[in-house]
């Protein structure tokens, strides 16, 4: 039975956000008998409510509250008010994610020591190592049902994967397979196996893809220790004279402001909203926002070096059939500066339906060069590039000086400039992917610019020293003992891998820490 806690109950852990970080942390704490209230800005849509329609689903799930953008990234020109394609709904972006679940590589926790100082980048080693993370990665993989782990078979490859694999073989790539996916390849955990429906980004109507919406959250609710409060938009975190946080002010479903008291607060609203909330919680005691004595809150915004390559063949492919992210090539994920950049990148198949292909293939493009690409939509194959981007202090989330949202909270501005390393990596990936498809007989290829960001990272980063970041190795604020960050904003650097598995692993680890600190009465 889901719990229901009084607003004045100051013994609860309040978590802001119900996605990979918040949803997992909530369940993990509830399993340990800790009382938890999750405040989720969005509504609760169960998986049978999802829509196999790109724009229809976007209206249902996407975070479309206005944001502004600046910087030299093309998203700012083409989608000035949509810097990120993430979700406002119970389950957060785990409803939308594709399911790729890769562990970081050892060196990716130690980028400053491995890559050395990179001009114009704010590299730093994580205060955590791969060895320390391994047990938690294993727990996360088991929880999420990651294919290729725990003897679960990999998913069968669809048409888009088969084209990728044929090209990978021709180019001599060695590590190409259907991935480590948090998508059931067999029925497990009382959930269906993948039916190769496509529309992974629109929410899995079979419940085959792991999402906190129908795994962590109901499991947590069943303990009687978890309440998920949807349509609750956090505005401000309050604190006492001693500097400990005491509660969260939020706008409820009717837009009325409420305050939920708290013993501990964990922020997990994704890397735009989490720093926005901390910055908006400024006070006389914390004039630059909560947890911001370092000045790092909102800085070092990362979005992965991304891009896509689509290619047309003289015979049909039907790439949209089956899992959206149906396979991976990992050979380029290594750190090998001889390629002209530090860090590495993954190739992962991707497809968009016709409506989104029209919107994202070449935003703003028109005329026959554009439309003849779409004319051969069913002859198209495609992949996505996801690589490590450089943290930069000036790439950051700030509060807009004038514009406010419906609750009077300043909206977020997202500033991003590509680092030369990002551009060099993307160009390398474009060239390799084009060669890959050429090798299979592509008649035309399209290096496609990055979409609005799905991997938003780094804006409350972990650091060993308080002056370098916002939180410590447990995601605990350096400045405030009972304030935590539980999403991808705590990433010190981005690595080449899709972030969700690491977010979930960190949340499992953080839950152990919070529970033990609560028992020890240190928080």
């Amino acid at each position: 039975m889901a719990a229901s806690f009084d607003l004045k109950n100051d013994n609860v852990v309040v978590i802001i956000g119900s996605g990979a970080g918040g949803g997992t942390l909530g369940n993990e704490l509830a399993q340990k008998g800790v009382d938890v209230v999750i405040l989720e800005a969005g509504a609760r849509h169960e998986y049978e409510d999802f829509i196999n329609d790109e724009w229809g689903s976007f209206s249902q799930l996407a975070w479309t509250d206005k944001r502004t953008t600046s910087g030299d990234w093309r998203v700012s020109k083409d989608f000035p008010n949509l810097p990120a394609w993430i979700v406002k709904s119970v389950g957060g972006s785990t409803t939308h994610w594709a399911g790729a679940s890769l562990r970081f590589q050892e060196h990716e926790f130690k980028t400053l020591s491995t890559y050395g100082k990179v001009e114009g980048a704010n590299l730093l080693d994580w205060p955590v190592t791969l060895a320390e993370m391994e047990p938690y990665y294993a727990k996360a993989e088991a929880k999420m049902g990651v294919t290729g782990t725990n003897n679960w078979p990999r998913l069968p490859g669809n048409n888009n994967f088969k084209v990728l694999k044929a090209g990978a073989d021709k180019l001599g790539y060695k590590e190409c397979h259907t991935g480590n996916m948090a998508i059931n390849s067999v029925e497990r955990d009382d959930r269906n196996s993948c039916q190769q429906t496509g529309f992974c980004f629109q929410g899995c109507k079979w419940g085959a893809k792991w999402s906190t919406l129908y795994t962590e959250i109901p499991k947590g609710e069943a303990t009687g220790h978890l309440e998920v409060r949807p349509n609750a938009m956090a505005i401000k975190i309050n604190h006492d004279a001693a500097g400990k946080v005491t509660g969260v002010v939020y706008a409820d479903k009717d837009g009325k402001l409420q305050e939920q008291k708290a013993r501990v607060v964990a922020v997990a609203g994704n890397s735009i909203e989490s720093p926005r909330l901390l910055l908006n919680s400024e006070s006389a005691k914390f004039p630059h926002g909560l947890a911001n004595s370092s000045g790092q809150v909102g800085k070092n915004y990362m979005r992965h070096t991304t891009g896509s390559v689509y290619a047309i063949f003289d015979r049909p492919v039907h790439m949209y059939r089956g899992t959206t992210m149906a396979g991976i090539i990992r050979d380029e994920a290594r750190h090998d500066p001889s390629r002209g950049f530090v860090g590495g990148y993954e190739f992962e198949t991707l497809s968009l339906g016709l409506p989104f292909m029209a919107a994202f293939l070449n935003p703003g493009g028109w005329g026959r060069s554009f439309t003849t690409a779409l004319d051969h939509y069913d002859h198209m194959a495609g992949l996505w590039i996801v690589g490590e981007d450089m943290p930069r202090a000036e790439n950051r989330i700030t509060l807009h000086k004038d514009e406010k949202d419906a609750h009077g909270m300043p909206i977020a501005d997202v500033h991003f400039d590509d680092h030369p390393n990002d551009t060099a990596m993307r160009n390398h990936a474009y060239k390799q992917a084009t060669a890959l498809y050429d090798a299979v007989g592509a008649t035309r290829s399209f290096p496609t610019p990055p979409y609005p960001s799905t991997h938003n990272l780094g804006t409350n980063r972990m650091s060993e020293k308080a002056e370098d970041g916002v939180v410590n190795q447990h995601g605990q604020a350096h400045d405030i003992k009972n304030l935590f960050v539980s999403d991808g904003s705590q990433f010190t650097t981005g690595a080449a891998e899709n972030p969700t598995l690491t977010i979930v692993s960190l949340a499992i680890r953080q839950a152990e820490y919070i529970a033990s600190q609560m028992s020890a009465k240190t928080i």
């Binding site: 039916q195 429906t197 949209y320 339906g353 919107a359 779409l374 069913d378 002859h379």
Partner: protein, 176 residues
Amino acid sequence: MVTIYDGKPGLSRRELLKRGGIGALLVISGSAVISPENAWGLETSALKPETMATLIQMARDIYPHDQVPDKYYAIAVKGHDEQAGKDAAYKTMIEDGIADLDKKSGEGGYRGLGWEEQRVAVLQQIEATPFFQSIRGGLVVSLYNQQEVWPIFGYEGESYSKGGYIARGFDDIEWL
């Protein structure tokens, strides 16, 4: 309100202008744009029907798909008539934008230019204007989000109700 009169032979609008005669692309009649060849018509309420006819041609020139009939371009731009009915400034932007397009196209106006290249050259002159960006930005959703056009491109749309593709060709590629 914009009404699309659709396609059974011999329907409304005076039998769709008695089905034309000379294969004209689009015919203006009263407040309607009519395609006698293809038996559909579109009635405008805020914009001039000539404006709507030009918008339809402009839509095709922006996103030309020779296998997509005019009707879907008409459906894709009809929202501008509704918007113009609610917003006088918007109506002015559209009417002025089309008038400018006609002026730049010479004596016969935009629709009088016989080749797509000629019309595209005119569109390129106005590409940066809010008018053009508004038409193009709306069109990229309103054209490609019509389920009826998806089969023309080989896109199958919703698949959950059919059990996904696990038994319907998710891995049926044979030419590799």
